[in-house]
């Protein structure tokens, strides 16, 4: 078990602290909770962990209406009622109306799996509490068929949160925790490198410079994050924009080219334009 270690993949850069946290979760077979700014690769982490450890991935995306029970199984009472009215013979076996959820699938797999519970904070406040035993003992009981479902191999459970709701203590105590902070320039360079291996040094340098400059603008409603930077570079490459053009813009003369990929809020664009204008005026004086 401990032989398997996650060290990042060819397309995903992990910092040391994230690596330690993931490896602790893998070794002790306990869930890990990942928080961080949107666009810093929380969901991607689960995909990459599954890929690098060569395990199947089960994804459970949480919405505001999701119930904990839906991840385990659902008893479709309405369908059974309809069937009984129509005289369908299937109605005599209740097991026909038990619909498996993602957690069941992950528990019931022949090989160890990775289970992603995405954006757990979107759900009802009681949601995490309803999953305590399932995450701790990795088993649950199907009352309708009197069946105990136990994980054959404890899956690696990766839970992401955007911090919209606070999670209950009892739940947190059962998890490892990691907060993905926004990558510094060096890490960002590595991230861009793995996504665009052939990128010209000059373009990379200029685009990162411009990017961090935009991020440093005070008062932005939504600061551009890693995923936006990657999109932007993709566009720059597609449009074949020379690095010199970026430098000119980074020095504050105009909006960076294709800024729509970085600034996604009209007010932010206005704010940025205003700042550039002020800057230019103060220079010309």
């Amino acid at each position: 078990m401990s032989a398997q270690k996650f060290t990042g993949t060819s397309s995903y850069i992990v910092t040391d602290d994230l690596m330690m946290a993931v490896n602790a979760a893998v070794t002790l077979q306990r869930p890990i909770l990942i928080k961080g700014e949107p666009g810093t690769g929380k969901t991607q982490l689960a995909i990459e962990v599954a890929r690098s450890l060569d395990r199947p991935l089960h994804e459970w995306h949480i919405k505001s209406t999701t119930k904990a029970q839906q991840g385990l199984y659902e008893y479709d009472a309405v369908a059974r009622l309809r069937d009984s009215q129509l005289g369908d013979p299937r109605v005599h076996d209740i097991a026909n109306y038990i619909i498996r959820g993602n957690v069941w699938d992950a528990f019931d797999c022949d090989v160890p799996t990775v289970l992603l519970i995405d954006e757990i904070d979107k759900a009802d406040i009681e949601f995490p509490n309803d999953l305590l035993r399932e995450l701790d003992r990795m088993e649950f009981f199907v009352y309708e068929t009197k069946q105990l479902i136990k994980a054959r191999h404890r899956p690696i459970i990766i839970i992401t949160s955007n911090n919209e709701k606070e999670l209950p203590d009892a739940f947190l105590r059962r998890c490892f925790f990691h907060y993905i902070k926004f990558p510094d320039k060096k890490t960002m360079q590595k991230i861009v490198d793995v996504h665009f291996p052939g990128l010209k040094k000059a373009l990379l340098k200029e685009s990162l410079e411009a990017f961090y400059k935009v991020r440093d603008v005070p008062g932005l409603k939504k600061k551009p994050s890693t995923s936006e930077l990657l999109d932007w570079i993709k566009l720059l490459l597609a449009e074949d924009i020379p690095p010199e053009a970026l430098r000119e813009n980074a020095s504050g003369k105009a909006l960076p080219p294709l800024y729509g990929a970085l600034l996604k809020n009209e007010q932010d664009v206005h704010l940025f334009e205003k700042l550039i204008f002020l800057d230019r005026r103060s220079r010309s004086q």
């Binding site: 602290d17 002790l28 209406t65 709701k165 203590d169």
Partner: protein, 391 residues
């Protein structure tokens, strides 16, 4: 050793549990820390702290507890690479300096000294002027030591190795007790959303079910409706002018960002204190005013009233008729605020002034008494406490 550390964390205000400590010991036993102090720090943080707003506190306690221990650990390694030896030399140096820092006292001073030490290290190890040119001015000048956070050790990997991770205090911005700003506005926003939103549950729509079942020739057709969305109404009164402008801007941003979550959100402005009228548009404040009486009639008692102001003024402006600095008011501000509070039983006052200074300013004390003690600092945790009071 860890038990002591554990209790130190608890004394420091963190709340790790015994299970979490046992988990940490388990992880250490599994050997993935590889005898590295940095790794131990990461693991301890991942196991014992479950809230990024407490990372900074953890860093401080960790630094205080493990000062010097890593040197000892380094000695244990038998095959010492040359680089490690050099690193150890740096650490030895820092230990001396740290003693001096302690003698200086005060954490801010310590941070200052730490910064100086880093600058020194650059000179010593990089030799020429290569680093001093940049490190001397730009990193520390631009974002070295300012409210945005201490970012020591930004440049160069050797630097990173020399300073310990927990000493960099990168999570300071996330500390929930600091003043509300653009940095932590998102967390504050979540607090507001929590206030505005309640769990979404499905309800059985009985009438529609009966109707649809009948249309379905008696076959059961169950209809569900989502639970009705929360209908919180907020009346926001903001103090404008002078020192308050920055805070007002942040508050407006904050509330307007959350405005979609409220059923109604109304803004009004006042200067220093509320009197017989308020205004909506600051540029036309002298022409377009709404009288406070009209306001209380227009917006019903189900509105939650939130004042934002520093409440710092002359006490006359509150208690005396004619005390206002801008105009002649027939009745005292205290009377007017009392009328508003009578209409809106759910109300709080958010104050950007640091809580520690409240007792020294008579007008804050008076306002607080008028508000029935419902005054909260304009921080993330203050906002959370205030919102709790509004429920």
């Amino acid at each position: 050793m860890l038990t002591q550390f554990f209790f130190r964390l608890r004394d420091g205000g963190l709340k790790p549990s015994i299970t979490e400590l046992l988990t940490l010991l388990d992880v250490m036993k599994s050997g993935i820390a590889d005898n590295s102090v940095d790794n131990f720090y990461y693991l301890a943080r991942a196991t014992l702290v479950k809230d990024e707003t407490q990372f900074d506190l953890f860093d401080r306690i960790f630094a205080a507890h493990f000062r010097g221990i890593d040197d000892a650990l380094n000695d244990l390694a038998t095959d010492v690479p040359e680089e490690w030896l050099r690193r150890q030399a740096e650490l030895m140096l820092s230990a001396e300096e740290r003693a001096q820092i302690e003698a200086m006292g005060g954490f801010d001073k310590l941070m200052e000294a730490l910064r100086e030490r880093l600058e020194e290290q650059d000179e010593r190890h990089e030799g020429g002027n290569k680093w001093i040119g940049t490190a001397g001015t730009s990193p520390f000048g631009a974002y070295g030591y300012n409210p945005e956070g201490v970012r020591i050790g930004q440049q160069g990997s050797r630097h990173r190795r020399a300073t310990k991770v927990w000493d960099r205090r990168e999570y300071r911005n996330l500390d929930s007790s600091v003043e509300l700003g653009t940095r932590n506005i998102k967390i504050a926003l979540r607090q507001l959303r929590k206030f505005a939103r309640e769990g979404a549950a499905d309800l059985l729509d009985l009438d529609d079910t009966i109707d649809k079942t009948a249309r379905n020739a008696g076959f059961l057709d169950i209809r569900m409706v989502p639970e009705r969305h929360n209908a919180i109404k907020v009346l926001l009164c903001l103090d404008v002018g002078g020192s308050m402008d920055d805070h007002v801007r942040i508050c407006e941003e904050l509330f307007s960002a959350a405005s979609s979550e409220f059923k109604h959100l109304e803004y009004y402005y006042f200067h220093n204190f509320v009197y017989e009228s308020l205004w909506k548009d600051n540029s036309r404040r002298h022409n377009e005013r709404i009288s406070t009486t009209d306001l209380t009639h227009k917006y019903g008692a189900d509105y939650k009233l939130i004042f934002v102001g520093d409440a710092t003024m002359s006490p006359y402006e509150i208690v005396y008729p004619g005390g206002s600095v801008e105009h002649w008011n027939e009745e005292a501000g205290a009377v007017w605020i009392q009328r508003m509070l009578n209409t809106y039983p759910k109300s709080i006052w958010l104050n950007p002034e640091p809580e520690s200074r409240w007792d020294y300013t008579p007008s804050i004390k008076m306002t607080r008494e008028l508000m029935g003690d419902r005054m909260y600092p304009l921080t993330v945790s203050g906002l959370a406490a205030g919102i709790k009071k509004l429920h």
